[in-house]
Symmetry: D2
Subunit: 308 residues, 4 copies
């Protein structure tokens, strides 16, 4: 290739949003796992792009079939474990597949209570939030990121916002008591020494998820907030302090504004009681919280909406 | 007017989707109520339509203001009680407003657990389902309908579908064991003697909602289903049997198909374990369950997506 | 049945949202039709609900198959013609099916321009709006309703709103020049003498749709508005005047508020130039426009979100 | 900071989705511009995160106000020009703001035809697609990316897919004639010599957008496709060949599967005529098309969903 030639740059492809429901029915007490799985491959796919030569294109239909076949053959376990198995398969079985991203959303269900007992095989969708997982493979290196999204939380007090700079376009009054509400999207990367992911695969991802989530929410609840940024950092710091195996966290947190309604025209006070919950625009606060000295690892975050 | 003249038919107008968050902060332990309120007026609005004469048009902005002002002055209580108050206000204060529909969605929150205790003023959105309420006023008559929507439930067994007619376009095999999944939208009308709604207003709508919901879900769980229609009817029957004050129920229940994946090409059995959760198309089952002899009351259902 | 027994009320069921794309390839110049079809049956389905007896339940899967088979056997033509054929089929072939609702959304495509000419077989989705059609069958009577939805229109002047009543909750200022914006959902019912639908079936629904749409939009554009209600009525009146075969129109039109931004704090005037387009809440204006003396026909509107 | 300390990583914040409608009313013939603007700042915001010190936090509310004030003071022009002005303002007026991302969606409107003429001040929303623009500032360097999203296109022939590898999970048959449909999301970066963006700012972005879009669609239409990847690359190559000022393109293109319906059970052939348009899962093809020798510039793509 000569300078100025038009060439293929970075690329990936795969099957997105394979909706998988796995029922475990070893006994009368069924278990249910409900995921939305996406598989994306990276590697040498240049001939397909430039010449329509598909001899190295593992069909996206094949990737989908593999998701369902693996669910039967190995079960799911945790989304992270399931994705790690998919990643190994594609990179080991197809020499020209040098990496990829495997990601999942997992939806939670709880047993319906009947006759005072959780039912054996009837479930109701639980929670508005979604658990997420991303596995990245790049050659010999594997990265595992766990997360959650649409976790909507609100504090009716314990939040203020003041001391910000005022220019000619500033009209916002300062406040020492407001509603703070956000919908947390968070990712946290598990420590995985490049070149060897044994440690990561042994992790109990289900237990880890519940523990990290609890720390995040508890910090949101108890931390007195002078800015959503400060709350975000406190949440990330609490997670990193509590879980040494976690290398870094990333957050994307919209500030879901709740505006105090002006009731003065109707002769009413409104001491922090009646709010209009606005849709748009909204503040959007995004940051990583990391351990000093840990090198950046952009390969771990490929394809994750980012900000750096 | 002469026959053939073009005239105004049925009509209503109002403000839709007033997002209201009400914090009760009488003590350090805050309470939160989160609603989406719609107010629609019916009455004599002909001059506005035909001549642009707005002298009887209570501005939709005024309807919105009233929602927020009432939330402060009276609190919310239950969505049904809040809507009844709005309905009375508009029909009593504006003589030409002869009726209307006031409806709400209510979102539930649960306290975040911190230090092992539910927190005083920090909350997380709970559940995927939404509680709904509709109040209809038509002259002297008031109707109250409670409901829920987006209540997604699934049975991993205890459901079959067979014995259906086969014509030249029928390919569906019979099954004696399938996943049954649906997203329940239900409405139930509380008994309200036309001309006197005292009884209805005294109801504890919050307790009623929880009790009706529990009966519906328990019936879904325990009833062996030979068709989603049969499950629907059983759910309605159970509610009407358990709650004599409820006059009728309506359900709209999509059959959220979970297709067993054919794993035979991969040499695998699939004994009811691995499913593809499909989006579209979906079955859609809708029915009313009523008490024999209770006359139809279409005015109660104005504006509610229906089928009769 | 005795009074007080719990019985099945109104009901219907079917397959919703069958996504159908039909390519006509009689020549090198392909035609494409893109629909979302829903079939719902009414009739004697009581045994299924009460006893799980499916011997009269035409499977929703069969209804779906019929949609695709008919698309091949007869083509689509217009959505109305396609739905009429489906309605006849189900009510004629299954004696216990006494009626139903067949509805469709149709998406429009335009040819991509290549080498200065519309391409033979490459298309781009056109327009944000969706054409809709509903066919109702009730015994010997058939009703045909055409419509559109998500047709978003805006006038940057030629709209005012004043003269409305002011109570203690009214804060809205009067205005003699505002943006008027709405997303039109409209339905219009074609004249069909009960008991004989021959006339309706002969209509050129495609030409009719374009003509009705043009009249609606032109009226929106040219009519000086003193309220969205007045604009709505003018649009319906214009349609009924222009098309004697149309019996009645219904509209559901949100008032998509565009709020003039207060730029005074920044030392700027804002003479109707800079607006904030709000999401929620929004005004919601709904009305029927009818011909005097034409009797109500609620059976034609079953299942269409209504207000009367 | 010592190694292992928990510190703030990359971060940004701002106001998202400011819905701006700008009417130009210099004459009776109004013009309308309709955008959704997001402003995000990067720089020294550490004290806010770690200590709740907001003295450098330009409030997101101020960012929003600036959007509306600038729309009035300077007009919009093109989304790129508008965003460039915002970027300059924030990085010049606040010394600690060293960069940021300013992005917009723009919605198109066409004049309603009345009396055979395009109307002066009445418009209908046009097209399903959305024009996008992103301006990145990083210190002295500015990057401008133009794009579009939700541009849905379909070819009813001229597409095949065969020759792909077959493993034990492969069931997809080869095809030499299929529907190819996708919803194009594309971005293209305008050449901007680092350290001097004068060239970029002089570009006629509106004309450029229309020209690039036309080349993309024409290539989609006329290029015989052996894989969606090949079509993607051809589209990017055509753009880079036609527009020397464009440095690189990125595409994210779902393969919107249209499955040929098996009508054999009904005794019907289906020679590429009747299709089921599926929702999920879908193929997802993503790639960059670049000029050989042009160095990667990840700063230009910060925050844009990516894959490398």
């Amino acid at each position: 290739m000569a300078d100025g030639d038009i060439v293929l740059g970075a690329n990936q492809y795969g099957k997105a949003e394979c909706r998988l429901v796995r029922v475990t029915r070893d006994s009368a007490r069924h278990e249910i796992e409900d995921l939305n799985v996406t598989s994306q491959l990276r590697g040498d796919f240049e001939a397909c792009h430039t010449d329509g030569d598909n001899s190295q294109v593992v069909a996206t239909d094949t990737q989908k079939n593999t998701v369902y076949a693996f669910a039967q053959e190995y079960g799911v376990g945790s989304p992270e474990a399931f994705l790690l198995r998919l990643g190994r398969h594609f990179t080991e079985d197809f020499p020209w597949v040098t990496g990829g991203t495997w990601s999942a959303e997992q939806y939670s269900w709880q047993r319906i209570v009947a006759d005072g007992e959780p039912h054996d095989h009837a479930f109701a969708r639980a929670g508005t939030e979604t658990r997420t997982a991303v596995v990245q493979v790049d050659g010999a290196d594997t990265f595992v990121i766990s997360g959650l999204t649409d976790c909507t939380v609100l504090k009716s007090t314990g939040s203020e916002f003041s001391g910000f700079p005022r220019d000619r376009y500033t009209t916002l009054p300062e406040t020492d008591d407001r509603i703070l509400a956000t919908s947390v999207t968070a990712w946290w990367r598990h420590g995985a020494p490049p070149g060897g992911s044994d440690h990561v695969e042994d992790l109990d991802f289900d237990a880890s998820f519940e523990a990290v989530r609890a720390v995040m929410l508890e910090t949101f609840a108890t931390f007195h907030s002078r800015a959503l940024q400060q709350t975000l950092f406190a949440m990330g710091k609490a997670v990193l302090e509590a879980f040494p195996g976690i290398v870094e966290c990333r957050f994307s947190m919209p500030n879901k504004h709740h505006f105090l309604v002006d009731l003065a025209p109707f002769g009413q006070d409104n001491p922090g009681e009646v709010f209009f919950a606005a849709d748009r625009p909204y503040g959007l606060i995004e940051a990583a919280v990391v351990r000093e000295g840990v090198p950046d690892e952009p390969r771990a975050w490929a394809g994750i909406p980012g900000f750096c």
